[in-house]
Subunit: 680 residues, 3 copies
């Protein structure tokens, strides 16, 4: 039976489009004519409108002029295109901050910003919320029943913090609520008796900053939680008028790669589908590393809603904000677009359709350049991507099935990064996640990125690295998963603090995880960057870098031991049977060799399916990912290597959708890819 | 016929002098006695007075006391010296900022500074302008007819910005004026519709800063133009009372090496002669590089007024503000002083005559040290320079004639540096200028540094690197130059934006420069610092670094091609006949080898005269520059190498002015120099 | 006759204890039970209480609750322990800054901080002083006659500055007093006529900062002096009520390693004994360097009062605030504790007894970890240290006798570091002190660290490196010392400025030191980090780094000469007989080889006693230090090397106190130590 989930069933196709800001060219409408013609030629079926339009559609307070939007939506639609419509809150008009200065953010140093840049509105300001509600309602009423409109894109790249009196008071209320108006509960949770930091009233609370305090870790953590909650609260107010006008239009917001500032997991209950802006640094170094890193975040954003997502922004050539803005090499644009599809995206979208003539992003890559023609390598590449997407349209809505998952958690990320101790300024949490993800990526194994409280029962293998902060619910979730037969791998720094950043007392890992893993931790050593330790595993020696724990096995099997330093012969890797499953603990960081060798054993043990049969990893730079509609399996094979050509046996015959024939092996030159099909 | 231009015809001699701050020693007049004696002994014929004297000559508001100036001017003059008199605006007295806080600058973060340091007055403040006008008028009335006074030095090292309300309003007025009170013109020029940044009134404008906006490039550019204009406006008010009292005393202000903050070209209409402060980092690395760099700026400051200039400050030993303050090696002080003369200076001046006893510059090199004697290597070196200057006095006022020029433009420098994209934080504009200048410098070829709108007809060869921002006037100027027979070399990044930092639409380089060069640019690639490309030219391969453009020849000859990467076989160097001339375009940056080999062909083609006949460049570190009074040619030959000794044939006999005999070759040990003479 | 000085004669034993903050656990008194039991087990006889207790003992203004202190002091005492009691001023309660905002510091940028962190009270604030006086008096009245209390520890790690109006006014008064209300005296001292910086009234003075002025070096220096004076003034007000209640309880404050901000020499007149917090970076690189560095500061803090001191804080395992927080290897904790004893400490104290559960220091090493047990390597190590201390209890109160001393001076350190010129951002003053100290340390020679005005007559050898700022009293002190037979070594940069940072005029070194050393300095050269000079001494060549002076011998013997660069054959080392002694001058910095070879000659010449006979230095990492009670000599031999094992002959038989037998040589594995005894 087919299992396809469309972002919007009225448009069950891959979206191929771009951010489009035609209000820049309203005085030169011949450029609009060119645009409409070129969109068709490029195989683009969608444009995202309205992101920066506020100052045009509401030029002064309460004065609205939708003429440009009316016209451009009509022209796009009548030439066969669709529209994703944005709410304009990401860049407010100047009159708003002039009349209501409270909408301007206040810095952590207490300074009210002037108007300028983007993203700098106070999320708490009632005036801003009111004005956004009005403009969103106007837009929704006017366009949400227009057949061109297939989705809402609220605001733009939410982010940042504000330290104004309104936000400060909102933060106090957040804490009053959390601690049930009992300041003593807060004192206990923040351990304020140390350093004589006790609060006697919630009104004494200031957001953490260099002006006040950065050393109360519980406060720091709650501030970050509050920032996420306040942002979401703002987003919910943005969405309400949209849903009121037409609840059937799906809503999303565009998230940013590996952005640390907001707990994106918290957003998933409020958006209908996920969308993100994808800007890897292709050709900057090891291209396979770059591809793996992008793949990690594709996997994350897909896992967020466990269904197809949008790659809402990408560049067809180069960005303008990296330190060095290198051009994508021929082939890389299409390859990286299809990477999104392979990992579950139902869109390939660019920022932006046409390069701006002026202002800060005028040199950011775009489909159409300042020359305004189709006679460029970049335009031809986008057109090619469009052609391929139309050839594989049947894949739209199909799903990714994974037997393995990696646990990621923003609260843990924040707490770890904030912790004083260990390698103080670089805990390498995401890097450690990547190092496990890279194993799956390079072995042709699908992988989800999940939250510690998610249902894990569908996975054969779950990896939970560096779960420094863990609460009882998550710990119980891990235990349940293993008890019922799962294989769980965790690492050093597991279970050190609770949800308030208070250390677990007694033997750690806390929350009963010592029982799950059958070990206890005595102390944690930090290595200087020029120091290396050693571990022996399976007759081989591995290097230890950065961190090593002195642990004791209480009832686990010791599979590897340290072989240097004073903790030589102490456990470095343990495995503990628990219920029907198994929990492994890695007590040190390695450069990847150990993870590779260990995981190879584990996946064979767990009978994890590789998308293409292989001994060990696929050749360098080669990947194999699948989507399925329940009846067919779609296999995406690609070569991210910049130099190596590979002949890869597929293990069985597949139908090559683009080539139009059945094949059993593929020849992959650099940046080559195949989209193959077989019955499930 | 003789052609000599004197800074002040009443004193037609080389000026050999120093900044002198005798008000520091007013309680120990025996030091004045020593100074007067030592000046004579050192061959110093000039002292620059009054730079930091304000608090002494106007100790409280409206109370004036010129006694110390009266006395010291008299003493200097009566012992045979002359005086350059400074206006004291560079360091105001404390009472002024106490009574009129508006004279204090406001930082880009909105904070009003306290009194302190130098250079920190608001250029807009009416109070400051008024007080400066009064003190300048007093000085001019009292001293501008004194026979000792040969020039005015207004203020000291103008620089810096102020964000106070007065400056903000002045900036708004500047823009009102520029955009003819039409905010829509400003919106168009700044492309504010992007990011919804539209202004509805000039009163909404804030100077660009971290508190407001750094992303409106047109605004950033106009702010820098405004800062230059406001500084010049201030300077003009300073000059007015001086000229009123005695219009025959020439006026200058001391500029700073490669200072980025002010468009020095704009100053040339308001000063009578150019002057600058010259502090190269001798002996810090490759000494020839250091010498070339200093030579570039000597050439610039000479070209500013196309006549002799002053080297207003230099150190006879070391400075105190470099990261490492190394002593000049024996010989280097005289050599670097004569470098200024060789490039057209009519002065050798030091900062300062005598080391201060306290405060921030007490360890800056000076002619007389804290020991107060003549018994130092430094004093002897200054004395030697004085002797040489008196021997070559006939050279005073003679001119430098160049057949080649390099175009430099501050507005382009600002816009390039501000541009987001490419190598984001380091565009290397001045470094690229130096790389071309180095060719001339190392081949014994005189070279001017000119503005893009200057008359170019006198040059056989003009090099215009990285002209990213170019206006129609400049573009037409380049075309006219080539049409009439000139050879023009330009490079990557030519003609990308107009004077408002708006991208040229259609094929670029814009402004019709695609026609001049016969090429068009498709895209621009940025290389990471560890990446190298390749180019083939004349049977040889060259490395490509930093930047490479994918260009197409429309009607130019392709002289070199890329030989690596996807743009292999695309043009890397083109040449286009245009009118009677030729326009060459270099599409990549190299480490200097390519420039060297290409320029060698070009100068032979253009029949550019070398000051000494040579195959290829002069030996390492050796230079040959000329001045002429119309009848004689004065040839300056020098060795900046720290180790190499060279015997250099001169190609014909010259009269060695210092040695007093005719010679045909010279033996140059490290830091040796010769000043030679022949008939024109 | 025995000569022992006890910190407090009522407790004539080594103190083995820790900072203890039991108010954190007041809701879980079972932890108190554990603590009391574990203290005994660990051999801890002391706890430091009250450091962060203010918010508990005075929960709101004027409301006092000493119940927790009453109970815990009683419990510690009744189980055999003693208490050092802290005043709580280092971390004030929140109500205090709410009611009296003046107690909060103002930053150098003029911003009033909010409540937060520690150490951030205004030292001038009358309100803060008043509140501290009250709480200190309460504590003193209640506890200073309790038999448990053996010492006072006032505040905690004094440090930092405040730029509030109260401090600004106090600074002005400090200057009014210093300059006898005569602003002209200040102008002369600060050399304000340069840059027109003259003051006309003391009310114009602002503390130096980026908002005002950083270039008036005399002002900078007086500001630092004022900060020390104001801090001490605050400390004196803290101490007064303590002494009033019971003058027999000795008072100290804990100082911080190499802290630059306060002139610790100035504290010695107001404390009864010295105490410091010792946190070397063991195992981070060359462990012997680390040990030498710690030894330097042990020597300094002992020399401060010339009697036993306390090592008030140390970690038994790791800290949490280094960039990489490495664990002490087995043995290092005890070894580094005994290092303190060897250098004259009468205590081994830890921060802290038990790890906090939350807040910023929760991962700082402690005797008891979050597990709460005795079953850790760290606990066992502390217990072992306790056992050893009890075995060597007879050493308590014994003294260190040194024949050599190194001069250190905070005022010189400040002025040097502030000076513009030379290597502008890194003068390497303390590093240079260490390079001389290392010689003594590695040769088994005791060494004091003294102030330039201290009586030097007891030393055979005094080293006074880089005495850039020196006043007449110090200069006369040095001359007296040499005249009466001492050997003095000084270096480059001696005697450049006076106590106001004004350069000495005439020949330098100033203050008559040119006569003492028989040399004069012409100029000072700075080498770039990649440049090296050369010196010839005793037939051998040495490298010159960083700095070299061109000096002339007027009447000194030249013992070494430069052998490269233009100052080749100029003196590099001179020696001058003066009175009965000798003054040597080193004109360059070396990497240590030269110091080693020179000093070897000098100590043999001066007949300096080594604690163990040796040719040249002791083997790598081996040290030998002594204490004496007047009758016995206690020899501490240790191995700080991480790898080398050494058999070391002692030169004569010693009684091994721990081993309980007489021996003549020792086998030292890494981190081994011996405590030996012989008659004097």
């Amino acid at each position: 039976m087919k299992n396809r989930k469309f972002v919007n069933p009225v448009f069950p196709h891959f979206v191929h489009g771009a951010d489009y800001n035609p209000e820049q060219w309203v005085k030169t409408k011949n450029i609009w004519d060119d645009d409409i013609r070129l969109m068709k030629e490029a195989g683009c079926n969608e444009m995202t409108l309205g992101i920066f339009s506020w100052s045009v559609i509401e030029p002064s307070e309460g004065v609205f002029d939708f003429s440009f939007l009316d016209e451009i939506i009509e022209r796009i639609y009548s030439s066969g295109g669709r529209v994703v419509l944005s709410t304009p809150s990401g860049a407010r008009p100047r009159w708003l901050s002039e009349k209501y200065p409270e909408v301007l953010r206040v810095s952590r140093w207490g300074q009210r910003y002037h108007f300028g840049e983007r993203h700098n509105h106070c999320f708490t300001s009632p005036a801003y919320r009111e004005k956004v509600k009005i403009i969103n309602a106007k837009l929704a009423e006017r366009y949400s029943h227009h057949p061109a409109v297939i989705a809402w894109h609220v605001s733009n790249e939410y982010g940042g913090e504000c330290y104004c009196p309104l936000c400060t008071e909102a933060f106090r209320n957040y804490l009053r609520n959390k601690f049930e108006n009992d300041i003593e509960k807060l004192n206990d949770a923040y351990w304020t008796t140390f350093w004589s930091h006790r609060y006697s009233d919630f009104s004494q609370i200031e957001p953490p900053s260099e002006l006040s305090d950065m050393g109360i870790h519980g406060l720091n953590l709650d501030w970050r939680r509050f920032v996420t909650e306040q942002t979401i609260d703002f987003m919910r107010e943005e969405i309400a008028p949209l849903k009121k006008a037409n609840p059937s239009i799906p809503v999303t917001t565009n998230m940013m790669y590996d952005f640390d500032g907001l707990d994106y997991f918290k957003f998933r209950d409020y958006i209908d589908f996920a969308a993100w802006d994808c800007y890897p640094k292709w050709h900057s170094g090891d291209n396979a590393e770059t591809a793996e890193n992008a793949a990690f975040w594709h996997d994350f954003y897909r896992s967020l809603k466990m269904k197809p997502f949008f790659m809402m922004e990408s560049t067809p050539s180069q960005v303008n904000w990296h330190e060095y803005n290198k051009l994508k090499r021929p082939g890389m644009d299409t390859l990286s677009s299809l990477q999104a599809i392979a990992h579950g995206s139902d869109s390939v979208q660019y920022f932006q359709w046409r390069k701006s003539r002026g202002s800060s992003e005028k040199f950011h890559g775009a489909v159409v350049g300042h020359d305004g023609t189709n006679d460029t390598r970049v335009f031809r590449s986008v057109r090619k991507t469009g052609e391929i997407l139309s050839l594989i349209d049947e894949i739209t809505g199909s799903m990714v099935e994974s037997e393995a998952a990696i646990i990621m958690d923003w609260e843990n990320r924040w707490a770890l990064s904030d912790s004083q101790g260990f390698a103080r300024y670089d805990k390498k949490y995401t890097e450690t996640l990547y190092s496990f993800h890279k194993f799956f990526w390079s072995h042709g194994i699908n992988c989800d990125i999940v939250h510690p409280e998610d249902d894990l029962s569908k996975y054969k293998l779950v990896v939970a690295p560096m779960m420094y902060l863990i609460n009882q619910v998550s710990a119980d979730n891990l235990k349940k998963y293993v008890r019922e037969g799962g294989i769980l791998i965790s690492t050093y720094q597991l279970g050190m603090v609770d949800e308030n950043d208070l250390c677990y007392l007694g033997r750690t890992p806390g929350c009963g995880l010592d029982e799950l893993f059958g070990i206890w931790r005595e102390e944690t050593d930090t290595l200087y960057p020029d120091q290396k330790g050693r571990v022996k595993f399976g007759g081989q020696e591995y290097s230890v870098i950065d961190i090593a724990e002195v642990i004791h096995s209480s009832h686990a099997d010791v599979l590897a031991e340290f072989s240097a330093d004073y903790y030589s012969s102490f456990p470095a890797l343990t495995s503990n049977r628990y219920g029907k499953g198994k929990a492994l603990y890695i007590a040190f960081r390695d450069n990847g060799d150990f993870i590779n060798d260990l995981m190879s054993v584990i996946i064979s043990d767990a009978k994890i399916k590789k998308n293409i049969p292989s001994d060990g990893s696929l050749p360098y730079g080669i990947t194999a990912h699948t989507r399925t509609d329940g009846e067919n399996i779609y296999l995406f094979v690609a070569n991210y290597g910049e130099k190596n050509t590979v002949i890869l046996p597929l293990g069985k015959p597949y139908y090559d959708i683009i080539g139009g024939k059945t094949i059993s092996d593929v020849l992959l030159k650099p940046f080559d890819f195949f989209i193959l099909k077989t019955e499930r």
